[in-house]
């Protein structure tokens, strides 16, 4: 299709541009504000495009902006050629289709449009009326029959559904196409689990318009699981691998994933055993007289065992060859190891320095048993200058400059200089990092910083540095240890407490952090849980002016109640033990509570002890408990009901769950690709003098 035919002031391409520059709700808002469509370029006749006004009549269930966005292309077509009534017709169909996709199976949309005479002068504006008869909104009651091996919950997860109604409890919209797509998904699901005889019958749909319910039944004849009864590995492979032959998947479902997975396992094992180019083929055939047992035959040729001839690096203009060679655990004369080659590839990519990495394997003088390895890299840009301008939930207006080089002097190490300034302070940080510290897979970070930040109770200004080493212990488990030194040198407190003298202090500490994260999504978590433990030891021997320990335990759980409703629980305990008495705890190290991410019925840090002026002074322990119910309202709009509870205690020996403060409220979250934008309102049921009844937070991201 010629691109020119699709250009328009708000045509698809333009719209995408707009979509890239603004959020989608802005586009929708624009549609409301400007319901006239005018194309940018003339149509086939060469005449000037006309303005097209669209009147939507009868739409109640779906908002006008949504509908207008659906018909933009057609209206721009009509703008170029107002005699083409088919465009108005198609627009009506489009709206009708959209209704049906939203659960209105009987929706009818007519149009009212009088096309001008092609031979006469076109009017400057034309008007299209779209008359909507929505019909009932139909929900679907899905029932699966005949499934026993896989429960409804497991299967229904394959169904692309859209919930409707308040709090998404209105049921699932009936969209016939989705129902049939679900049946297709079920077929694939069973097939990939080895149930090759499964028959998923076409959905039986019983539409009850009076009740607005479509009862859908899908009958499944599950059949039996076809299993792999035997694996016949070619003798050449057995001889080549011996005990390193991967355990055959006997007894496992006869699914392609198992069959080809085993092929790959054999191939990897052969490469690990020194065969650079093994030919491995698999085929499954039914065993005679065994209807559901299959024999997998692994055939092929392992090829010769090779040794490494030479190892070379190519394509590196900046990165030192040693940095690259250090990632490959093979040297000349070694027996070839494909696993090492693959691992080297991964480690090189993990450096983040290269756009492309290839490890070429060439036979030496045609001798297949001697391979020359050449690591070919294509370096990415390693240095960058960033200018930042934005808005922060606490810092308000903020700006920054960042200079970074991820490949300093070709060593593969990174160096970055961050400079930020905001309405709450400034910060400058110089960070050096090694993403593969001594080839251990650990990340070493060394940073130095100077900053100033205004907190509700004090101003913190410090100069210091941090040395941290982090490593993934196993999947989902991260450990981090390090040492940090900061000299808080010019801080001010807004309180009149004795702690003032400790606003300026030297902070030398070691810290250990263990984090276990099993959430399914970092931006939009729906299920899973995470736990973390952070212990800090501040002692004079470490360069600190104080002697205290700090511990934070945090646990978060996500419990999906349905596809659209989820329950989130949080528990967080933070304590500190002042070894020199409570009076010797700097204000910066004390615990505060309240705010958009803690107890939301309080403003930032406003929960807990205050001085006479009403400024929070923090405490030696704090507790936070939250429960939040999140549910989808519209497509990208989510609502939450929450209850927060927390306290702050002045002294650790008084640690208890007494004197809890609460926050009850709700909020709306607009889900954006970069995370949710959040508006929460919390009511404080147990107020002290000076506390607000309602506190409203506008923020981004989930509170936990």
């Amino acid at each position: 299709m010629p691109d020119g035919g699709r250009t328009g002031r708000r045509g698809p391409r333009a719209r995408r541009r707009v979509a890239g520059l603004a959020l989608a709700w802005l586009a929708a808002a624009c549609s409301v504000l400007e319901p006239t469509y005018t194309a940018d370029s003339p149509g086939p006749s060469g005449r000037i495009p006309v303005g097209v006004d669209v009147d939507l009549v009868g739409n109640q269930g779906l908002a006008g902006p949504l509908l207008r966005r659906r018909i933009e292309d057609y209206m721009l077509d009509l703008s170029r050629d107002p005699t083409r009534e088919a465009a108005a017709y198609d627009a009506a169909l489009e709206v009708e289709d959209f209704y049906r996709a939203q659960g209105y199976p009987l929706a009818k949309v007519r149009y009212d449009y009088t096309a001008p005479d092609a031979d006469a002068d076109w009017p400057a504006r034309v008007r299209v009326r779209l008359l909507v008869e929505e019909g009932p909104l139909v929900t679907v009651a899905m029932a699966l029959h005949g499934n026993s091996a896989h429960g409804d919950d497991e299967l229904l997860a394959l169904w692309s559904r859209r919930r409707i109604g308040l709090l998404a409890f209105g049921g699932v919209a009936f969209v016939e196409a989705e129902v049939y797509a679900f049946a297709d998904q079920l077929r694939t699901f069973y097939r990939t689990r080895g149930r090759l005889d499964t028959i998923v019958h076409p959905p039986e749909i019983d539409l009850d318009l009076e009740r607005g319910v479509a009862a859908v039944g899908i009958r499944i004849d599950e059949g039996e699981v076809h299993t792999i009864g035997a694996v016949d590995v070619a003798p050449a492979f057995r001889e080549a691998l011996g005990g390193a032959l991967p355990p055959p998947p006997v007894g496992k479902p006869c699914a392609d994933s198992e069959i080809f997975g085993y092929r790959d396992a054999v191939r990897l094992a052969l490469r690990h055993a020194g065969h650079p180019e093994p030919r491995v083929a698999v085929a499954a055939e039914a065993q005679p007289h065994e209807a559901r047992r299959w024999t997998v035959r692994v055939t092929g040729d392992p090829g010769p065992v090779a040794t490494v001839g030479t190892v070379a690096v190519a394509g590196n203009r900046k990165t030192m060859a040693g940095v690259i060679l250090g990632k490959l655990d093979l040297a000349a004369g070694d027996r070839y190891d494909g696993t090492a080659v693959d691992e080297a590839l991964r480690r090189l990519y993990r450096l983040g320095l290269f756009r492309k990495v290839e490890i070429a394997e060439r036979t030496q003088d045609g001798d297949p048993e001697r391979l020359d390895l050449e690591i070919q890299v294509e370096e990415a840009d390693s240095r960058a200058v960033e200018f930042l301008a934005g808005y922060g939930s606490y810092e308000r207006l903020r700006a920054g400059l960042r200079l970074s080089d991820s490949n300093v002097l070709g060593t593969g190490r990174g160096l970055a200089l961050d400079n930020r300034i905001s309405m709450r302070g400034y910060a400058t940080q110089l960070t050096a990092s090694d993403p593969d510290f001594f080839g251990t897979g650990s990340t070493l970070t060394l940073s130095g910083e100077v900053y100033r930040r205004e907190e509700p109770s004090f101003v913190d200004e410090a100069l210091g540095g941090t040395l941290a080493l982090s490593r993934v212990l196993r999947e989902g488990l991260l450990a981090r240890v390090g040492y940090q030194y900061r000299n808080h040198f010019d801080s001010n407190a807004f309180t009149a407490l004795p702690q003032d003298q400790f606003v300026d202090f030297a902070e030398g500490k070691v810290f250990v952090e263990v984090r276990h994260d099993r959430r399914d999504n970092v931006l939009f978590p729906r299920r899973g849980h995470s736990q973390s433990l952070l212990f800090e030891r501040l002692a004079p021997s470490l360069g600190a002016d104080v002697d205290l320990d700090r511990l934070t335990l945090r646990a978060i759980g996500h419990v999906p109640l349905s596809s659209a409703v989820g329950l989130v629980l949080r528990s967080e305990q933070s304590v500190l033990w002042p070894h020199q008495g409570s009076a010797n705890v700097p204000l910066q190290k004390r615990w505060f509570n309240g705010g958009e991410n803690t107890v939301r019925s309080y403003r930032e840090s406003q929960l807990g002890p205050k001085d006479a002026a009403g400024s929070p002074i923090g405490g030696e322990y704090r507790n936070i408990f939250s429960v939040e119910l999140r549910f989808a309202l519209l497509e990208t709009l989510e609502a939450g009901l929450f209850a927060d509870a927390g306290n702050v205690g002045a002294e650790i020996q008084d640690f208890s769950l007494d004197d809890m403060r609460y926050g009850l409220g709700g909020g709306l979250r607009l889900l954006l690709p970069i995370g949710p934008v959040r508006l929460d309102a919390a009511w404080n049921p147990d107020r002290d003098p000076g506390d607000k009844v309602w506190v409203v937070h506008f923020s981004v991201g989930y509170p936990f």
């Binding site: 995408r16 028959i199 993990r350 240095r383 993934v472 099993r518 931006l523 934070t552 690709p673 970069i674």
Partner: protein
């Protein structure tokens, strides 16, 4: 000087003699030389001359079509060799010889003197010889098989056999009546001094014969013959006798004298076995001369039969007097065990009686066969012959004989005439005497159960006597008689006594005296056909009894008793009592004759209880049949809720009718019946086509006149009737009707006033009324101005038919000959008032104006009656099931029975305009008579037509097609060009199955919407389908523009696409990477048009890895192959496509790293919700723009910072951040990168 005289004493030998001798010697030497030369060069000099002559001579001798000789070798003086002798098409028995070689050694001199003993040695070898021993009925026995004229000296004959001879045939093909055998043959003859021994080997058959020199006493030739047959059964089978015997040895010592003919000897058969049983030895001693064949004693033990003959004397078949039965004397006794082996030799009727066993003995003398007491058990019966005498010869019509016999049946199946295979039990005893053609029969029947396919009985007893003058049946009782075609259980007991004289070969009816009583417990079943014919259903059914006592004499047929009673379990209880004398007489000619007097009265009572589908029936009537009249008084008649009373009197009776003199159409009739008012709800719904009804109906009917001129008066009223509605369902409609049919001077006048209201379920929800007056007189039938009103619209009807009153009353109504003329006029008739489902549409509307003129025959149907029609439609709208709604339809149709012209039809399909015009012209016959032959010529053009629309898919196209040809084979040609607005935007799921390598999908393939078979089979499609502009395909996975270059072919009921769909550019979009489609092709092949082949090749690059994806195979079983440079495992590549990162890379980045990419995938879903799935970018993927980084900083409470960036334009990103203070920040970032 004179010469001196020669001395006389020393004269030489006469020179002439010496010269003669010399000449003789010379001639002899010459001849010898010549002979020697000829002999030496006989192959060159003699054979060419001799061979054809010899061939002809042999061909004539053997009567063969052709005889060919190869080499003629040997020295000819004592040895002759014939090679490559072929004999073609010789008459039986020698049919053919191939590759024969004959070598004879002989003494030439004796042969030249006619002594056959000169033949010393003979050897015959042949590749194949074909002998045909099949019996030829046309062939006659040789007149003189053995000459008895000349005195025979067997010595030369015996000497003629060479002392050494052998015949060897590699492949002797022997054909007999029972089959064919092909085996090698070897025959050797040896011996000397008047004795020859011959040995023959033919397969397993071994034969040895010894011929000795004639004895001194009688000059007979002694022959000793020994036959060894390991499988004689097989040998016999060759001649059609399957005895099942094997083994055996036949020895014969025969003395043969030919002048006069005399054969005397002993035959002995030994060592014959059948199964494991050794058969007794058979011995026969016989003497045969030209006068008699005398068998002194013969003990023949054959399979299944043992025959003993004693003193048997028969005329010799070689005697001059021929065979004379009267000369046969002797005794015989036969013990029969099983004749099955000889079935092939027995007549078919006898074969059916097999197996047979028993013993028969008797003697022959004086031309008669005197049978002693014999017993013969055949299949199903045992025949005991007490004694009798049967003539051998003579005219059986006059020859007297007698046979006293008893036949006892044992219940086995016998094949009887008419009955066929019958199981018989009991006995028949009696005597048959006199002429065997018209015998005197005195039989006593005592039969038990008899059963055959045609019927049977439980027992029969009685006496049957017959002689040439009369036939009498006395006391014949047949119990439980059943006959084929009657229902089971309808058995009757029949008692019959009858006697009649015989006259002219038949029976004299006047002499017939008959008494018949039928008592049947299920006799009602016999009435079932009559009930069915009367429309009373299946009849009484169940058990019933019928008693009939009838006599016949000159005064008529006397019904002494006629009673029919159905049993309590009968569906219809019937009681019929009748008595009287029917004025009928049977003269014996096969027809009943009417008499002038006599009458019979019957009382009929019938009652049937209500059944699941039948209302109760009750009848009480009296019928009287007199010679000239009949009366039927219906005292009570009820059929469910219908109650009817009345009477029918006719002026013709049984006598008049049977006399044949009465014209039934002229029989005066008077009838008067009245139906009491009935509630329609009480009537079965089946009467109204399964539709329940309610309301009230009354009817009266009177008729006088004759059948030819009946003057009926019928009044039918239907009050406020409603139809339809069961168990709460809506009623179909409501109707009121008045119909009065009367006769008068003006003819038959029917006045119909009907109103109906049909509701939505019937496809219409408006009222329908008809007001008409139908007049039928001697000029014809006319529908006087009638109006059919439909929902306020009005259709004027006129009708004129040549159906005359007389024809109607006579019943001579032939719909095919009744002419109809009339018309139907419409003016602005609202089409939507008629149910759209009449044409299979969902809905229709429009205004129809026009007129239809009718002129045709009633029986030809309404279409055939159309003479001309011109209808126009305005503001039409039509919605067919699978097509978008057709709007703004305007059309004019003109036509008659020969041509229908479609004036330009214009309409809009999805706001695109189309035009159609065309004609339908009749072939040889009018359109309605031969619709298939009518020629269609239709052209359809349209622009921007919406041809298809479903959820997510839409086809808009310009169309220019023609349909031409006879309606039985319409060729649709043209092209369809898809244009703007065509798109396919749908959510399909390919991602989850990416890891699979294809597999069977449950799908019926891509099916182009077919037309109904009744119409679609007639359409031959060949329409080009192409895209004017590529249509958009946007799915979650595929995004591109597609060009079509295909043809729609096949029939309308099974259309198929052939051609390709090529993707122009486009991308395969995955969350982690976009792949640019290098080539994408969907090919519809003629072999599997519903399962097009995919061929998609796409490449993309992510993290420096070039990913190539190839999708091939059937679209429903795609084989997805993913490869990369550098080579990575497929699983890694799938992860790369779906997340944008290698799995190992993800693992290295920890759980947060994994989550961030999965989260990104979900973020993509969020994107689509904002921008719509069809608006997804075609450029770089979301992941090329989205960056998520965690862990850059750590907060005081240990929370990692999170930084999310989305690239808006190069260098400019939007950023969301949770920082080290756990605060959230948002902003834009301008970034410049450097190497």
């Amino acid at each position: 000087m004179s010469p001196p005289p020669a001395p006389a004493a020393r004269s030489p030998r006469p020179p002439r003699l010496r010269r003669w001798r010399r000449w003789l010697l010379l001639a002899g030497a010459t001849v010898a030389a010549l002979l020697a030369g000829v002999w030496t060069f006989r192959q060159q000099l003699v054979v060419p001359w001799l061979r054809p002559r010899l061939e002809r001579a042999l061909a004539e001798l053997l009567a063969a079509e052709r005889v060919t000789l190869g080499e003629i070798g040997g020295d000819w003086l004592g040895q002759l060799d014939l090679h490559a002798v072929d004999i073609e098409a010789a008459p039986p028995p020698l049919r053919q010889v191939r590759g024969a070689r004959l070598t004879a050694r002989y003494a030439l001199w004796p042969l030249l003197h006619g002594d056959p003993a000169g033949l010393r040695w003979l050897q015959v070898e042949a590749d194949s010889i074909e002998l045909d021993l099949r019996h030829d009925p046309a062939a006659t026995a040789p007149a003189d098989r053995v000459s008895s004229a000349d005195g025979a000296d067997y010595g030369p004959w015996l000497r003629a056999l060479p002392e050494g001879a052998s015949v060897r045939v590699a492949r002797l093909q022997l054909r007999g009546d029972g089959g064919e055998r092909t085996q090698p043959l070897a025959l050797t003859v040896a011996g000397g001094q008047g004795r020859r021994q011959a040995r023959l080997s033919f397969g397993d058959l071994q034969l040895a014969a010894t011929l000795a020199a004639p004895g001194a006493a009688d000059g007979a030739l002694p022959i000793r013959l020994e036959l060894m047959a390991p499988e004689p059964g097989a040998q016999l089978a060759l001649f059609g006798v399957d005895t099942g015997v094997h083994g055996g040895r036949l020895a014969a010592d025969i003395g043969l004298s030919l002048d006069p003919l005399r054969i005397e000897g002993d035959l002995e058969l030994r060592d014959l076995r059948r199964g494991s049983d050794r058969l007794a030895q058979s011995q026969v001693r016989l003497q045969l001369d030209d006068q008699r064949l005398a068998i002194d004693r013969a003990d023949v033990d054959l399979p299944g039969i043992a025959l003993r003959l004693q003193g048997l004397s028969l005329p010799s078949p070689f005697g001059a007097a021929g065979f004379a039965a009267a000369a046969v004397t002797g005794q015989f006794e036969a013990r029969i065990d099983d004749l099955s082996a000889y079935a092939g030799l027995l007549p078919e009727t006898v074969q059916e009686l097999l197996p047979a066993r028993g013993q028969v003995k008797g003697r022959a003398s004086d031309g008669r066969l005197q049978l002693d007491r014999s017993v013969l058990a055949v299949r199903g019966a045992e025949v005991t012959i007490e004694g009798g005498s049967v003539p051998f010869t003579g005219d059986w019509r006059t020859t007297a004989g007698s046979l006293r016999a008893t036949v006892a049946f044992d219940g086995d199946t016998c094949h009887l005439p008419w009955f066929g295979p019958t199981a018989l039990a009991g006995r028949i005893a009696g005597e048959v005497a006199g002429s065997l053609v018209e015998p005197r029969v005195d039989l006593r029947l005592e039969l038990g159960r008899c059963r055959s396919a045609r019927g049977g009985f439980a027992a029969t007893r009685g006496v049957v006597r017959a002689d040439p003058d009369a036939i009498a049946v006395e006391g014949l009782v047949v119990q439980d008689l059943e006959a084929a075609g009657l229902p089971a259980g309808a058995a009757a007991t029949l008692t019959l006594a009858a006697a009649a004289r015989r006259r002219d070969g038949g029976l004299d009816p006047d002499s017939l005296a008959l008494s018949l009583t039928i008592d049947s417990p299920a006799a009602a079943d016999l009435l079932a056909p009559a009930f069915a014919a009367a429309g009373l259903g299946p009849g009484p059914g169940g058990a019933a009894s019928l008693q009939l006592q009838v006599r016949h004499d000159a005064t008529g047929v006397h019904l002494d008793a006629l009673r029919l009673r159905t049993g309590p379990d009968a569906g219809l209880a019937v009681e019929l009592d009748g008595r009287g004398t029917l004025p009928l007489r049977w003269p014996g000619s096969g027809e009943l004759m009417p008499l002038a007097a006599g009458a019979a009265e019957f009382e009929l009572h019938a009652h049937r209880p209500e059944g699941p589908a039948t209302p109760p029936l009750r009848l009480a009537a009296t019928a009287r049949v007199a010679p000239t009249s009949f009366t039927f008084d219906l005292a009570e008649g009820s059929f469910g809720a219908l109650r009817l009373r009345g009477a029918l009197h006719g002026g013709a009776g049984a006598a008049a009718v049977l006399a044949g003199s009465t014209d039934l159409l002229a029989v005066p009739l008077q009838a008067s019946f009245e139906l009491e008012p009935v509630d329609l709800a009480t009537l079965p719904a089946e009467w109204f086509g399964g539709t329940p009804a309610r309301g009230r109906a009354t009817a009266r009917a009177r008729a006088t006149g004759t059948l030819a001129a009946l003057a009926p008066e019928l009044a039918l009223e239907l009050d406020d009737a409603e139809f339809g509605g069961t168990s709460g369902a809506p009623w179909l409609g409501r109707a009121m009707a008045r119909c009065t049919v009367g006769t008068g001077p003006g003819g038959i006048v029917a006045q119909v006033e009907a109103q109906a209201m049909l509701d939505r379920q019937f496809g219409h929800e408006r009222d329908l009324s008809l007001s008409a007056r139908l007049v039928c007189d001697d000029d014809g039938t006319r529908l006087q101005p009638a109006w059919l009103r439909v929902a306020g619209g009005e259709l004027a009807l006129t009708l004129d038919a040549d159906l005359r009153r007389g024809d109607l009353l006579r019943g001579a109504v032939d719909p095919g000959r009744i002419r109809l003329a009339g018309g139907l006029r419409l003016h602005g008739f609202q089409l939507e008032r008629l149910p759209a489902r009449w044409i299979g549409a969902e809905s229709w509307r429009g205004r129809v104006t026009g007129e239809v003129a009718l002129d045709g025959r009633l029986g030809a149907g309404p279409v055939a009656a159309v003479r001309t029609a011109e209808l126009s439609l305005q503001d039409g709208e039509l919605k067919l099931e699978d097509l978008p709604r057709i709007e703004r339809l305007a059309a004019t149709v003109r036509g008659d029975r020969m041509q229908i012209v479609l004036e330009p039809v214009v309409g809009a399909l999805g706001a695109g305009q189309f035009t159609a015009r065309g004609t339908l012209r009749a072939g040889q016959a009018p359109i309605d008579e031969d619709l298939d032959a009518a020629e269609l010529a239709l052209a359809l053009q349209g622009e921007d037509l919406l041809l298809y629309r479903s959820d997510g898919a839409k086809v808009r196209a310009g169309i220019d097609v023609t349909a031409a040809g006879p309606l039985r084979a319409i060729a649709v040609r043209g092209h369809v060009e898809a244009g703007r607005g065509t798109k396919y935007v749908r959510r399909i799921s390919l991602l989850p199955s990416l890891g699979a390598q294809g597999g069977a999908a449950v799908t019926e393939g891509l099916q182009v919407a077919p037309l109904p078979r009744a119409f679609g089979d007639r359409i031959d499609l060949d329409v080009a389908v192409r895209t004017r502009e590529p249509f958009e395909v946007r799915t979650h996975v595929v995004d591109g523009d597609i060009d079509i270059a295909a043809r729609l072919r096949g029939s309308g009921s099974a259309p198929r696409l052939e051609g390709t769909m090529a993707m122009r550019g486009g991308q395969l979009r995955f969350p982690g990477a976009n792949l640019t489609i290098d080539s994408g092709l969907l090919t519809f092949t003629p072999g599997a048009p519903r399962f097009p082949e995919l061929s998609v090749h796409a490449t993309g690059r992510r993290m420096g890895i070039v990913v190539t994806m190839s999708i091939t195979g059937r679209y429903d079983q795609p084989v997805v192959q993913v490869s990369s440079v550098p080579t990575l495992p497929p699983q890694d590549l799938i992860v790369l496509l779906t997340t944008g990162q290698l799995p190992s890379t993800l693992a290295a980045q920890g759980v947060t790293g994994q989550a961030r990419f999965v989260g990104g995938y979900l973020a993509k879903e969020v994107f689509e919700r904002y921008f719509g799935s069809e608006s997804t970018e075609r450029g770089e993927s979301l992941f090329d723009r989205l960056t998520i980084e965690t862990g850059r900083e750590v907060s005081q409470s240990g929370t990692e910072s999170v930084l999310v960036e989305y690239l808006l334009v190069p260098r400019l990103s939007i950023r969301l951040e949770r920082d080290a203070y756990e605060d959230y920040n948002m902003g834009v970032v301008l970034r410049f990168r450097f190497p």
